[in-house]
Symmetry: C2
Subunit: 643 residues, 2 copies
């Protein structure tokens, strides 16, 4: 037996210790996912119930709710169907917004019975996981299992590659080009490529030179005057002078990279072309995004999940952003919107924009609670929220805060120093508010929000730990390389990871060192995304969303991915995304929620059933081992001798 | 001085020996280039004359002749302007075609005084070079110089990168997207990508199902019947079932790769869609190529040099090929045609298609000589030849012939065994015939042909030696890695190398091990090309010739090329190509034939003058060293102490 080597290396005690720790870790994530209507694999839940001597029931499984596509003739931005006012009161307490029947209940802090995460329990769970990822036997065990998973995939490939290919060849109508792909991680302000932005700037100048587009210090300026003040003429602009593309200068320099958002290094142009709030009400930015959307609609098989920013600097941001969205009708069936919240409290506090961290959280979440309770109080925001599928948390992870989250950490309303709180602190409070918000929205039959932070691009591995507890899925995940325990847990819980190797190549990690291939081989659920086409991609965006194809093409070339690999990654991207249930049925097949081969419809996904069976059996095998370890029944179990 | 380390490592005697050997090697290539109207850098010629105590004169410089673009309103395929019959006689003797005043002169072998290469001299020169590339001191010297060149470029980059970028930013209108690029190595039968071919097959079935398109063994078949006999319906076809894309199965398997030219593994479909000779006179193939050409014309800044095959199996091939070309008007201003000759004499001889190697050469070259002497005897061929810019020699270089070319080798008419002659033997006889042909065509004011073989993709380094002597430029060149002497000589003579790292990645060498970056840094003249988009590329060919952009994008990403690097490579591709003098003036600037910064027009090329100056000074410095070594004046020379 190929596993017998194991019995000499891992003692039974260590094996049990590791399995019990992993079991508890799995239940921790399950709890937080359920609370926030985020996803957790039923396969893994099954095994947890078996370990507990319980029976798994389908109703235990929660699912996020996304707004279905509009019916034929229905206007997705129509305010008529908004539900009535519930009359509830929402109020923040210790950084978390609670919902009360009325203000009297609020004053007494008698919130409605929406299950909420408890900070003390959260810190306990977190501390348990911090200890687990450093625990020797668990590290050894997971390291070995991961190594084994990779070798096992290589063997699978050598044995079954031709069979997989045969399945695909015999699958009519469907190939890699016409299976659905979602760009699962992309920033709206960089979703056009450099050439597109350049063309747009030139076109705007031809049409709008004499239009007043800018005002600074009370002085209004026409587009001509803006360019004159910058001492340039758009006719002379080139991709080089635009200077938004990341080059060798940005490697390991996130600060320089952020400056690349300024065309020609001029923040005026960023304001004018890439912002939703400016003298022209973000018209240019809306038009560019709509051009990108129209290309996606033409290309038919590609979708994207652009991020728009809410900073939490003042409570009107949501009203302005949703006003922009509705005014310019930025809606597209091929775009699912996400809200990104930059972790820059320290900057706002330094400039005295906010008195404490609690105010920032309140600015971010209270308007959403209020629009959920009384949609007609802010119909534009309520409509916009129907098309928002999740929250992202963004910034340079390599900046270290020095703060360690514990029960003794000041509550958000008491966090009034200029120093930024830790990544985990941000993550917990965003998660807690999203969880309650989702309870409320689910109750009202509204769509829920997923929490999908940037995580593990750089910085400490504890970021990945915080997101293991709280996030439906993450972007980047590079640092899973550094923790076998977390990597194995991400595998067991099939947490989707949106990877952007071209972005990493410009910022943090050279292309051929990217762990994408390794993760994919081991069976982690990875998708491919562009992050910032404006900065990182060369091929043209017009016609066919080429930046995403560039991402797939380069991965296929450098990592020598097979068609089956590429289609599996594309399928992962649809699963990871905020596409509606109806769309997922259409793109992946009606049983897509089932796990394993029966959930796969090869006619739609072009993923071989052999591959699906391999993935499913492999996951079950690993879960089985943990079950054995937990049952303390090594000698009686038929699989015991293998370990 | 940073070079002083040198004085301890290379003794003066060794230095002189190496320089004198390199000097002679340089003069050998110069001689063969001049004889065939192929290019040789004037900078290098200058130094050779200095070493000889002579003065370089511009009239020593030869240039190939390409057909200029048609004047406004002129039909490029109009036979009216063909020149008259000269009445000469062309006849093969010892594998080389000679031109005689008349048959009497031919019978006496009194050829016209066209300078021809001499076999004995050629073998002498070859043997000298074989010894040189194995000579210890020369290997050491060139190895060190190449290492130095690479480090020097790195230093240049660190010092001047920002300055180069500044030049480009200040260069209006021009960026990487709108500087001209030529796909310098692409096979016509794979110039469409897989998706394009698939779409074309489906479209043809919708339109032509009942058309008789195929005949085998006297039986005619409609398109419907062809597909029925293959037990398939085009509606079900996908990119996977088409199965023309190279995958992991083709790595190190050139044989398997060649089979990938058969869609669905069926040679019937290759015949029908990718051949010029078939029941429908190659109509489908012509239409596909014209679609590719029309995309290039729309994209404006991209050109390609597709290869069409002449096998030498029978003397009618040229008539058929040119008939196809004229009938379907495959001409495009964005395509420069090349003829590829597969090195498969052994197969033809084995099937008794040809009696000896001489007949194959005759079938390849005699029709061209005859059409050159009397264009009206074959007007279609004569017109086609106006648009042919060169010859390529193709096949799997890793096949070893076991034959060693020497003065004792049988002459082509005596080579009647089934065994294939060596690569060098093929190359010499192709070169010799092209050289005489060019003499004749130049005299008549016709366009000349460049010799541009596939070389150094695999196999022995002697292939690169043969092409150093005979080829204007080559495709691949990977094996220059294995011979520092040849690599240094390719640098000193600036032989253009069309590299295709994506093709190599599927066949011979993993992407990140490709020497493209290293060659570019050292100053070898490299361009990027696609080789076979059908097999290797993912992005769609329609609109904007994306396979070439994929090639540039991946190189830029994996090798972290700067914009200046990319534009330099694009400029190299135009220089390497068979684009007419008029086009090169238009695309590169009126002084493009001058070397160094004065030959560069940044407004057209977007290559920084700092870069051009660096390249020029670096080449001159290396040539200067050789001059010093040859003059035996180490002590008197101001640079002597540096070496």
């Amino acid at each position: 037996c190929i596993f017998s080597m194991f019995s000499f290396k891992v003692t039974m005690d260590d094996f049990e210790l590791a399995c019990k720790g992993l079991y508890r870790a799995l239940t921790i994530r399950e709890k937080y996912m359920r609370l926030a209507f985020q996803r957790y694999p039923s396969t893994t839940s099954h095994f947890l119930r078996k370990i507990e001597g319980e029976v798994w029931k389908p109703e235990h499984q929660v699912q996020p709710v996304f707004t279905p596509p509009p019916a034929a003739g229905e206007d997705p931005l129509d305010a008529k169907s908004l539900p009535p006012n519930l009359g509830y009161v929402a109020r923040m307490r210790d950084g978390v917004i609670y919902v009360y029947k009325d203000s009297a209940a609020a004053d007494k802090h008698e919130p409605l019975p929406l299950p909420t995460p408890d900070l003390t329990t959260f810190i306990d769970d977190m501390n348990f996981l911090i200890a687990l990822i450093a625990q020797g036997p668990t590290k050894t065990y997971t390291h070995r299992r991961l190594k084994f998973l990779r070798s096992k995939f290589n063997v699978h490939e050598m044995l079954n590659e031709m069979e997989e290919l045969k399945e695909l060849k015999n699958n009519p109508h469907r190939d890699f080009y016409n299976c659905r792909k979602v760009d699962t991680h992309i920033h709206a302000a960089a979703c056009m490529n450099q050439k597109h932005l350049l063309r747009f700037i030139k076109k705007s100048y031809r049409v709008d030179a004499d239009r007043v587009v800018y005002s600074a210090k009370g002085k209004e300026m026409t587009l001509k005057e803006v360019f004159a003040s910058l001492k340039m003429h758009p006719y002379d602009l080139t991709v080089d002078s635009l200077d938004v593309h990341a080059g060798r200068q940005t490697f390991q320099r996130f600060d320089k990279f952020n400056a690349k958002y300024n065309p020609v290094g001029a923040s005026e142009l960023r304001d004018l072309y890439l912002k939703t709030e400016n003298h022209i009400s973000g018209e240019y930015f809306a038009t560019i995004i709509k051009e990108v959307a129209s290309d996606l609609e033409d290309a038919r098989y590609q979708y994207a999940e652009p991020r728009l920013s809410i900073y939490g600097c003042n409570p009107n941001e949501w009203t302005k952003l949703s006003g922009w969205f509705i005014k310019h009708r930025v809606y597209s069936p091929n775009l699912m919107w996400m809200i990104q919240v930059p972790r820059i409290y320290d900057i706002f506090r330094g400039r005295n924009f906010v008195p404490h961290f609690g105010k920032m959280l309140e600015n971010i979440f209270l308007p959403v609670f209020q629009a959920t309770i009384d949609p007609h109080s802010n119909p534009e925001l309520s409509l916009f929220l129907k098309h928002v599928t999740g929250f992202d948390s963004v910034d340079d992870e390599s900046k270290h805060s020095g703060h360690m989250f514990s029960t003794k950490s000041p509550k958000p309303e008491k966090w009034d120093i200029v120093k930024n709180p830790s990544y985990t602190y941000y993550i917990y409070y965003m998660y807690a508010n999203i969880a309650i918000l989702n309870q409320l929205r689910k109750e009202r039959g509204m769509n829920t929000f997923q929490f999908r932070p940037h995580c593990g691009e750089a910085g400490a591995v504890t970021h990945l730990l915080a997101c293991f507890m709280t996030a439906d899925n993450i972007s980047h995940g590079l640092n899973l390389k550094k923790s076998p325990v977390l990597q194995y847990l991400y595998f067991l819980t099939q947490i989707p990871i949106a990877m952007s190797p071209l972005s990493n190549n410009s910022l943090f990690l050279e292309y051929n060192k990217n762990p994408l291939l390794e993760f994919h081989q081991k069976g982690l659920m990875v998708s491919l995304s562009t992050d910032d086409p404006m900065q990182f991609h060369y091929t043209k965006v017009r016609s066919d969303w080429e930046p995403l194809m560039e991402e797939y093409a380069i991965a296929a070339q450098v990592f020598k991915l097979s068609t089956c690999d590429m289609c599996e990654i594309a399928r992962n991207s649809v699963l990871q995304s905020g596409l509606s249930h109806e769309n997922k049925v259409h793109f992946l097949g009606q049983h897509y929620l089932k796990e394993g081969p029966e959930g796969n419809d090869i006619r739609k996904t072009n993923v071989a059933q052999i591959r699906m069976a391999y993935r499913y059996e492999t996951l079950c095998y690993e879960l089985n081992l943990i079950q054995d370890g937990c049952e303390n029944g090594i000698n009686s179990s038929p699989r015991g001798q293998l370990v």
